[in-house]
């Protein structure tokens, strides 16, 4: 048996979280130290796994399997393919940056960092799951860290509402998906939760058509699909910075990924049947989300709605069920995760230093915090799909796929991109350029750790813009596998 890299990757944050809970509450340095060490280890391990993954071979690698509940065919079963591997890396990067950004948290740091670590285990666990039960296990593990982190350290005015709304929406989605998953389990007649076996179960057509919406929509709620998206802006805005980064950057990908993994990949014929409807909903996501973002006066809400809009592109990519679309969706998940983490990090930095989020009252901050400004510019360019940045290489294939599937979708979705360019430039001009308000003189620059986080996120977005093959070859190998399930695409 090979070295259990994935298990180490998944459980390092969990163990770190438990260690942190056992530390005395007053030792903030130890608490942060454990958190940053665990996050760095995870980042290094996920880089190692990423570069040791053999994309020419494809399929699932780094597989580990231990029987868990053999009576029910449940096992602890992990492995990564070209689709989930980038997401593992994404999760580690964002958790790492989240720890750095939250360095100066004052109130109950022990609980904060422990819960952040638990959240890390949850997302990494989902991405690596090859067992449907285990996928749910990790998926719902995130419920309480999310809720408590939002209501405890979130924005005081909306945190109780936003936290509860987010938690209940996501829980609702996941338990409805659970009913679908149980139907898949019994319907297959295989008595196993092993997803690789369930892929080959050959469900009857009516079964797939009936159960697909349960599983796909249930999970896609967490991906922010229209009309179940409204938790996203409210939740993201109410959450503390690190949690916003993780929620929008990684958790929404957890939803989309699970919808793909348990929905499209297990019930491909169901996906084919419902694809047009998903395309329509996802297009609404892109355009409506962008327009809503345009109308916001609150800096953080702009970003909150922008992630709804961008996740629409991922879902469009899925629904094309084609090679280009899925490749684009896979790249977009990574690219958007990094980009939106950057956005929320910058918004958090601005708010921490000015205590203002209304766009109209901000201005001229570029000179005061140039790193934050540059970070926002890079993320903005990614968001607009500018060539030379990761957004372009991700969005272009999505549009190609959409054009082939349903040209109208591509045409309408492009409107969303135009609007995106509009609101990003608007916010950029209002917040970072123009006249500095009176209080602006005393705004301090971002800290060293913030700069490391911005640097890392920005670096990834630029590198992928110039060398997309670093990501695309890996994702393509995952897409090829999905296409086989879809019957050659």
């Amino acid at each position: 048996m090979q070295f259990p890299w994935l298990s180490l990757l998944i459980f390092t944050p969990l163990i770190a979280g438990l260690v942190i809970l056992a530390l005395p509450a007053g030792r903030r340095d130890w608490i942060r130290g454990v958190a940053v060490i665990a996050a760095s280890l995870d980042l290094l391990m996920s880089l190692l796994v990423y570069f040791r993954y053999d994309a020419t071979v494809g399929d699932y690698q780094f597989i580990e399997r231990v029987p868990w509940v053999p009576q029910l065919g449940i096992s602890y079963y992990v492995g990564v393919d070209g689709f989930s591997l980038p997401l593992v890396l994404l999760g580690s990067v964002v958790v790492f940056c989240g720890v750095l950004i939250s360095w100066r948290i004052e109130d109950r740091p022990r609980e904060f960092f422990a819960f952040l670590m638990f959240l890390g285990t949850s997302v990494l666990g989902v991405f690596c799951s090859l067992d449907l039960f285990q996928l749910f296990f990790f998926f719902e593990l995130a419920v309480f860290p999310k809720y408590l982190m939002i209501i405890l350290w979130g924005y005081p005015k909306t945190r109780e509402y936003g936290g509860m709304k987010l938690t209940l929406y996501l829980f609702a989605g996941s338990v409805i998906a659970l009913v679908g998953a149980l139907a898949i389990y019994f319907g297959s007649g295989l008595r196993t939760f092993d997803m690789l076996a369930l892929e080959k179960a050959g469900f009857p057509l009516w079964f797939q058509q009936f159960w697909f919406p349960f599983v796909f929509l249930g999970f896609a709620v967490l991906g922010g699909i229209f009309p179940f998206y409204s938790w996203a802006p409210d939740g993201h805005v109410a959450a503390p910075t690190a949690v916003s980064m993780l929620l929008a950057g990684v958790e929404m990908k957890v939803g989309a990924f699970s919808a793909l993994r348990a929905g499209i990949m297990l019930l491909p014929e169901g996906a084919r049947y419902w694809a047009v409807w998903i395309l329509v909903l996802a297009t609404v996501n892109v355009v409506y989300g962008a327009f809503l973002a345009m109308t916001q006066t609150d800096f953080k809400y702009v970003i909150g709605f922008s992630s709804v809009s961008h996740m629409g592109l991922v879902l469009i990519g899925f629904a094309t069920l084609s090679s280009q679309g899925l490749l684009g969706a896979g790249m977009q998940m990574f690219s958007h995760g990094i980009m939106t983490a950057m956005f929320f990090a910058v918004v958090g930095m601005v708010y921490d230093r000015t205590h203002i989020r209304e766009i109209s009252r901000l201005g001229g901050l570029f000179n005061k915090m140039p790193w934050a400004g540059i970070g926002f510019v890079i993320a903005g360019l990614v968001s607009m799909g500018m060539p030379g940045f990761s957004g372009f290489v991700a969005e272009f294939p999505v549009f190609m796929g959409a054009w082939r599937a349903l040209p109208l979708v591509a045409v309408i979705a492009v409107i969303g991109i135009l609007v995106t360019a509009g609101y990003i430039l608007l916010v950029l001009r209002r917040v970072f350029f123009g006249k500095l308000p009176d209080f602006g003189e005393h705004v301090p620059d971002v800290s060293m750790l913030d700069k490391i986080a911005i640097g890392l996120l920005g670096f990834l977005m630029v590198v992928l813009g110039w060398f997309p093959s670093l990501l695309s070859t890996v994702v393509q190998s995952g897409v090829d596998r999905i296409l086989v399930l879809l019957g050659g695409g």
């Binding site: 509940v69 029910l72 109950r108 719902e140 408590l148 409805i176 659970l178």
Partner: protein, 484 residues
């Protein structure tokens, strides 16, 4: 199959042990007229744990169920698992009762608890209708007294009397149902009911009448809607450890007999009781959860939550399959530990803060981070969130419903669990978010409480993560219940 005397004797060692333990506790109470009487809680707990060991050594069930004592009891995995559940429940409740002088200073408090445990243990293994009824009464009568044990407290007395009145009435109705069952079949042997009813070709309508009457009694025991009216008042008024005991062990005993009797006695009308129980499950979940939403007293909240929990367990029973019974048994094990720890925290906070209002929990996470964390674990386990025991229980009962083709029942169940999560999270909000003036004062925990809380929390985690061995036992129990 018949058994020799030695087997029969060793099979009831734990029950004999309970009687001996009760005599010891009462005797020591007479001898110790001073401070030493406070040790009785520890003695009770240790005794119950010893009896768990004794059951594991002497009363292990054989591969095939065995009728013993002239067909009065049935030695099988179901009785075995439930007995351990009850003994653990009694041990933990005894520990939570420490430090409450109006309870722990009276030896009869523990004595009554042990008698009740004895009754439950017999309930779970009863193989004869007469035995069953006697065991139910043996369980209930001490519980009526325990609920009203604080006889200087009006609420406690009210709880005791209310529980007695409801209990006596439903018990009479149930007895009538059982007597009809005897009348149809001419036997009191549970194992033979199905065959005899079949042979006498009893009309379905009569059997259904009997079924409904019997369900009234069982519905009361498990506090399913519409037989739930006593629960909130009794839980609120009864001493908190007693309320915890009522909501867990007593409920589990109710489920044990429910599953035993309907699977055999009403074999002929299986589709009808499956629908009836599904109906009970739906109204219990829905009514329990909706009413829990508005509660401000945590004991009442937990009472309504336990009504809803009974509904989830009934979902497993309503599947009517061996897998469904196993799911229900697993759920009951998970629920026992989870709800005991919830009531344990309520008991601890109630003792130290002096209130059972939700507002008493404000600032708990600053005051006693460990207790807040334990509360968090219990609430999330009740809500069905991994990695805690409740998650596995929920998945199993809903899976049983889906397997039986009743996916709509599972869907109603999961929608209910969304509603339930809301009020569990509200409790956590009080403990974690709200501030209070006392939040700097640490909360002193007695050693017994620490042990009990730790045991429960460990159990909740172990049942939620290491699933296979416990499911093995639940599976055996479910199987033993389904074959006659």
């Amino acid at each position: 199959m018949t058994a020799d005397f030695a087997t029969m004797l060793s099979a009831v060692f734990p029950e004999i042990g309970l009687v001996v333990l009760m005599v010891v506790v009462l005797g020591l109470d007479l001898l110790w007229r001073d401070e030493r009487v406070r040790r009785l809680g520890w003695i009770t707990a240790a005794g119950c744990l010893f009896l768990v060991v004794l059951s594991l050594v002497f009363a292990l069930p054989p591969a095939e169920p065995l009728l013993i004592w002239g067909g009065m009891l049935r030695l099988d995995a179901a009785g075995f698992v439930f007995r351990i559940v009850f003994l653990l429940g009694a041990a933990l409740t005894a520990l939570f009762s420490l430090g409450q002088d109006d309870l722990q200073k009276h030896g009869e408090y523990y004595g009554l608890m042990l008698v009740s445990t004895l009754g439950m243990s017999l309930m779970a293994s009863a193989a004869d209708l007469i035995m069953l009824y006697l065991a139910i009464e043996l369980t209930s009568i001490p519980l009526y007294v325990l609920a009203g044990f604080r006889f200087r407290d009006d609420k406690s007395v009210e709880a005791g009397i209310k529980y007695l009145l409801f209990g006596a009435m439903t018990s009479a109705v149930m007895l009538y149902g059982l007597s009809l069952l005897y009348g149809f079949s001419g036997t009191t042997q549970i194992a033979e009911l199905a065959e005899q009813i079949d042979r006498h070709s009893v009309p379905v309508s009569l059997l259904v009448i009997s079924l409904v009457l019997v369900l009234v009694g069982f519905g009361f025991k498990v506090s399913a809607v519409p037989f739930h009216f006593w629960a909130p008042d009794v839980y609120e008024g009864a001493p908190t450890p007693v309320a915890g005991y009522l909501s867990t062990a007593s409920k589990a005993a109710g489920f044990a007999v429910l599953m035993r009797v309907i699977l055999t006695g009403f074999w002929a009308v299986t589709p009808i009781w499956m629908d009836l129980i599904a109906g009970l499950a739906i109204v219990s979940m829905t009514v329990g959860n909706l009413l829990a939403l508005t509660q401000t007293n945590i004991k009442r909240l937990l009472a309504y939550s336990s009504i809803a929990q009974a509904g989830y367990i009934l979902v497993g029973v309503a599947a009517g399959t061996s897998f469904g019974m196993s799911g229900a048994v697993y759920y009951l094990m998970a629920y026992l530990l989870t709800n005991l720890v919830a009531f344990g925290v309520v008991s601890v906070v109630g003792q130290r803060v002096g209130s059972d209002d939700l507002s008493a929990y404000a600032g708990l996470s600053r005051r006693a981070p460990a207790v807040a964390l334990i509360l968090l674990i219990s609430m999330l386990s009740l809500g069905g969130i991994p990695p805690f025991a409740g998650f596995v229980g929920k998945v199993l009962v809903f899976a049983a419903a889906v397997e039986a083709g009743r996916w709509w029942l599972a869907l109603i169940g999961v929608i209910n669990s969304i509603v339930a999560l809301y009020y569990y999270l509200i409790v956590l909000k009080s403990a974690y978010l709200l501030r209070s003036e006392d939040e700097q004062k640490p909360l002193q925990l007695m050693a017994g409480w620490r042990v009990a809380l730790l045991v429960c929390v460990t159990g909740v985690l172990v049942l939620g993560v290491v699933i296979a061995p416990w499911f093995e036992w639940a599976g055996k129990a479910g199987w033993a219940l389904s074959i006659y």
